[in-house]
Symmetry: C2
Subunit: 264 residues, 2 copies
């Protein structure tokens, strides 16, 4: 596979889609027929992947859901299955790591070697040396938390430092100092569309991973209008809204077509 | 076991120790005789635990080292072994988690139920709702990254917001808004002893986990002088300096006695 961002650009064009499906299964929520399987989350994900692989630009499993159940094997099988059955569709492992250099190296190994992910989410609080072991993998995407979608994200991210909120400093660091391999991107929540517009102005060429549409209430139209670069530049994540829909394919199609409409 | 901080206070008194041993094994560094074992990191850790359990106030396995090798089972066995063989010595699982509420709940389950840890490290960048699922466990310790020991920790942590560096805002949030169950603590690196003194003034009753002595070059004397609350209040972590010492027991004893000397 080529580098992560080229691959996403291509899948975005090929599938006419900026949809990222979040593979975040919970035992209490997946249909009962999967629960007794030896690999319940993998079997569930396989159903979702088979239903959506021509409608998405990427997949994003959230590591917590597998770790909480001790189903790491299901996570590995899911990533392998995507690579095997949906060639050219990359996988973002959502782990939000951040630790000192020697430890971050271990986490980079976990994400890229053990699981074979194509990109990873990371937390910027500890600074550059916590990100470098990820950024050094030029072919992998490193998606840095910037302005997150959750209700209390402003506790730190909106503190005003030298005249600008902290999250803008993160964007600037990502753009000017951390993007030496052209493999950095930002996490920007759909729940803050005006800040998304501002960040797009600051970082006109940087891909954004956008969680927070669907269950969290973000407005797809505002996200696309404020964040798209031409017909790309965004990976708009929906998890619960697609994977637990009565018809996951129809739900993914609907999100894709809502996005398309906003582009016209 | 009682709540985490009572347990640490008691082990600090009982073992006359503020030493936290970091159980961070790396395959290339552990003695060769362990490498071929079915559970190499567990066997190595057992040797370290047997040699040090009367000299420490707590243990801190760094999850990355196990995850990078796919040796999660060794991590679980290590925590079980500490609880069985060193009753009253709590375990901090160093994972530096931070994610939105529903995801953080999964991580809390992982740390406290799957692994049975007594405390966990967390990242504050996403704000309160990312920490709440941990803080809600009143009997567990929640140790929040504040001023970390790594070289680029100032990239964000030293940005001046409303007249004070970001890390001081984190300390204030931890003290005034996040400590509703009296189970919050801070990570404060030994490599910044003046900032440690400042944080101790801001948070006179809050325990600090202090990484960065030993391999990272922090000064034990300055840490104790600037951070101790009486004969406690600190968990001073050493990993490589103890676990890879020719005589790990002697190395732990030496650190304990250096700390004791500073208290006199």
């Amino acid at each position: 596979m080529a580098d992560f961002f080229s691959t996403v650009s291509e899948s975005t064009v090929r599938n006419r889609s900026m949809v990222c499906v979040g593979l975040d299964p919970a035992m209490a929520k997946i249909p009962e027929r999967f629960r007794s399987a030896e690999h319940p989350f993998f079997e569930f994900n396989r159903m979702i992947i088979d239903a959506t692989r021509d409608l998405v630009c990427c997949y994003k499993p959230q590591a917590a859901f597998y770790a909480g159940e001790g189903l790491d094997k299901d996570l590995a099988m899911t990533i392998d299955y995507i690579h095997g059955s949906a060639p050219g569709i990359p996988v973002i492992l959502d782990v939000k790591r951040g630790d000192i250099g020697s430890t971050a190296e271990q986490y980079a190994r976990e994400a890229f070697e053990r699981y074979g992910a194509d990109a990873v989410t990371v937390n910027p609080y500890m600074g550059f040396d916590a990100l470098k072991p990820f950024l050094d993998h030029a072919d992998k995407g490193v998606i840095i938390l910037c302005r997150t979608s959750n209700p209390h994200s402003g506790d730190l991210q909106n503190l005003v430092c030298d005249g600008r909120p902290l999250y803008q400093h993160v964007a600037e660091l990502a753009r000017d100092r951390w993007n030496y391999n052209h493999n950095a991107a930002l996490v920007v929540g759909a729940t803050y569309p005006e800040e998304l517009a501002l960040l797009r102005k600051m970082c006109p060429a940087m891909p954004f991973l956008v969680p927070g549409v669907g269950a969290q209430g973000g407005d797809v139209e505002a996200v696309v209008r404020n964040g798209a670069i031409g017909r790309g530049g965004l990976m708009i994540n929906s998890s619960r809204g697609i994977i637990y829909a009565a018809d996951p394919r129809a739900a993914a199609e609907k999100l894709r077509s809502t996005i398309e409409t906003c582009l016209e």
